[in-house]
């Protein structure tokens, strides 16, 4: 076996072994050694120790005999053991012998034309039929196939390689020799068929599939980080301060317009207390002047109830109650009017501020889906809600308080303000 090999690669051997004697001795010695070593090496192809560097074609043949995959560190994409494992797995699936050599070119081939092709022929002579994929560090790859099915075709591997290259990220993605070799072996595993894209994508996503991109030197990357951070910090500071200063110093818009703008709240005016008492006195007198029939009529009874409700809330000292007393007094007044003029509407105040007077319009409130009765002024332009001053929270619109007034809108939202006020106050007292 060894003798036959030496004879075929004669020129090489002659250079290596100077004399015939050493040739014979060397051959016997190598045969014994190969017989001793080969079975063990074949049983454990993935030993922990990487094989010694194969610098000649003969050394490569010897290594290929023990292990059909030969990857040297200069072709291993940073991890020869992993590359070897990936290729070995792929080779194991093939139905025919497949040999892969990713190595530095033996010096003896340096002056040859197409060294990868030449050496594939030499390998085949030494190791027999099969598929030989050879890629040298310097030079292009070659795949030779001897004694294999006719439909075997390596074009799918290169089609898949180009497709993966186009899908890859980066500026100029270049597939590694290892990636190419893996795809060629895959093409041998599935002769005559396209490579399954799931397999190709799986390989293409590995860190060794493409030659790495140029990294920015660490000092440049660190400087860039500082520059970017400084730009953002100073930029935000400058922009923020410009905007802040601009807004803080901005003059209010034209005086006339801002005066026309309604305030955010309407307070209960001073002196209301006196006016409500006066009005209540007046309506009481009107009620007392009614005849017995009038008093027992529905309108007369409603007037009496409204006066009673007004009396309960007029002196509580609460501003909103005082406004309620005012509204109730007006309701009573209107009911007495209705004794003589039944066509008149019952009294309903402006929902926005009952002190505006009677509602004569309805308006869709801002940010709401209810149409509320409002006075004619609020119908043209919605004013601010009647509000009450809270010690901590500033001004609060009455509709946001938890009072009977908020629930009823001072009678703008309900028809039975009197009853609700009486019920509310009888519970409390």
């Amino acid at each position: 076996m060894t003798v036959a090999l030496t004879a075929r690669t004669g020129s090489v051997a002659r250079r290596l072994l100077p004399s015939a004697t050493t040739l014979v001795v060397g051959c016997v010695f190598a045969a014994v050694l190969a017989a001793l070593v080969a079975p063990g090496a074949a049983a454990t192809p993935a030993s922990d120790e990487p094989p010694p560097h194969a610098a000649t074609v003969d050394e490569m043949v010897e290594q290929l005999r023990a292990d059909p995959v030969l990857v040297q560190p200069s072709m291993g994409m940073g991890d020869t053991r992993l590359a070897h494992e990936v290729l070995s797995q792929a080779v194991a699936d093939a139905g025919v012998p497949v040999y892969v050599v990713l190595a530095e070119m033996p010096e003896e081939l340096a002056r040859m034309e197409r060294p990868a092709e030449q050496v594939a022929v030499l390998f085949r002579e030494a190791l027999g039929d099969g598929i030989y994929h050879v890629d040298f560090l310097e030079g292009s790859s070659y795949t030779g196939a001897w004694g294999v099915p006719d439909e075997l075709d390596f074009r799918p591997a290169y089609i898949a390689l180009r497709a993966a290259e186009q899908r890859a990220s980066g500026e100029y993605p270049r597939p590694s020799a290892l990636f190419e070799a893996v795809l060629v072996v895959q093409a041998a595993v599935t002769p005559g068929a396209e490579l399954p894209s799931s397999v190709v994508d799986e390989y293409a996503s590995q860190p060794w599939a493409f030659l790495p991109e140029r990294l920015k030197p660490i000092a440049d990357a660190r400087a860039d980080r500082w520059v970017a951070t400084l730009i953002v910090v100073t930029g935000v500071l400058v922009a923020g301060l410009i905007i802040t200063a601009g807004i803080a110093r901005a003059k209010p818009l034209a005086r006339g317009r801002s005066a026309a703008r309604p305030p955010a709240y309407e307070a209960v005016p001073d002196g209301l207390d006196r006016r409500v008492h006066k009005r209540l006195g007046g309506v009481r007198r009107r009620r007392d002047a009614l005849s017995g029939d009038e008093l027992t009529s529905p309108a007369g009874e409603r007037a009496t109830s409204a006066i009673e409700a007004a009396e309960r809330v007029i002196d509580t000292g609460d501003e909103l109650d005082l406004v309620g007393a005012d509204v109730l007094t007006r309701i009573a007044d209107r009911e007495i009017d209705r004794l003589h003029d039944p066509e008149r509407r019952r009294y309903q105040p402006c929902f926005i501020n009952p002190l505006h007077g009677e509602a004569s319009d309805t308006v869709r409130l801002d940010g709401s889906s209810i149409d509320a009765p409002v006075c004619s002024a609020c119908g043209r332009r919605q004013g601010a809600f009647l509000s009450t001053r809270k010690r901590m929270r500033g001004w609060e619109p009455y509709v946001d308080t938890s009072t009977v007034w908020a629930r009823t809108g001072y009678g703008a939202l309900v028809g039975d303000l009197t009853e609700q006020v009486l019920a509310d106050r009888s519970v409390r007292r």
Binding site: P73, S74, M75, G76, D79, R222, T234, A239, T244, G246
Partner: protein, 216 residues
């Protein structure tokens, strides 16, 4: 006055958050300095014993005498010199010779100048762990490579390196911004202009929006 305080506080908070975000984003762009390729590991381990490492593939590229002279010059040079002799490769998991030389230097953790010698390729070097006068050898190969000529060139470069001023530590010199002063002034200047532009546009936008709101 209140607007001024609120605006200033909000600006400060935004500046801190923005700065942190920029720092974080740019940190993910830093090359991973912990990754070491197989070749770099092998070379670094060998350089622990001797200042010259010759890859088994180039056994015999230099004579023993040449190697001994290089070794002696490299070991006695200040800053120290480490030489890797191997065939240059793009298929070994790194992009450029300076990348792998830096990997070797970081793994060996000895400050000095790391040379790559590859027959037929350029002689290259990087400083690792030292910050000194700019020293860079990048000699394109002659047509006819010979170990004798390469040895002479290498010994010349080692002699040139010997005795140059340096301090321990990494250089902060950046090819885009220069040194620390360049980085700071570039950052401040660009930030000032950019921020001024954004601030002006933002303020104009605020005035426009206010006028439109008032007109409604």
């Amino acid at each position: 006055m209140r607007k001024m305080i609120i605006g200033t506080v909000a600006t400060l908070v935004c500046a801190v958050l923005g700065g942190a975000a920029a720092w974080g984003v740019m940190s993910s762009n830093l090359p991973d300095e912990t990754a070491t390729t197989e070749r770099a590991r092998t070379a670094a381990d060998a350089l622990g014993e001797s200042n010259v490492y010759v890859d088994p593939g180039l056994d015999g590229a230099f004579t023993d005498d040449e190697l001994a002279r290089i070794e002696a010059a490299a070991a006695s040079s200040d800053p120290e010199v480490f030489v890797v002799v191997w065939p240059e490769s793009r298929q070994a998991g790194y992009r450029s010779s300076s990348e792998v030389l830096r990997q070797i230097g970081l793994r060996l953790a000895r400050p000095g100048v790391y040379f790559q010698v590859s027959p037929g390729s350029a002689l290259d070097s990087v400083d690792v762990g030292i910050d000194g006068e700019r020293f860079s050898v990048y000699e394109t190969p002659d047509d006819e490579w010979s170990s004798r000529r390469e040895t002479t060139l290498l010994l010349d470069k080692i002699e040139e390196n010997d005795g140059r001023n340096y301090t321990l530590g990494e250089s902060t010199e950046s090819s885009d911004w220069g040194g620390t002063a360049g980085v700071v002034s570039a950052g401040l200047l660009l930030g000032l202009f950019g921020g001024g532009l954004v601030g002006g546009v933002g303020l104009a936008g605020w005035f426009l929006a206010r006028r439109r709101r008032a007109a409604r």
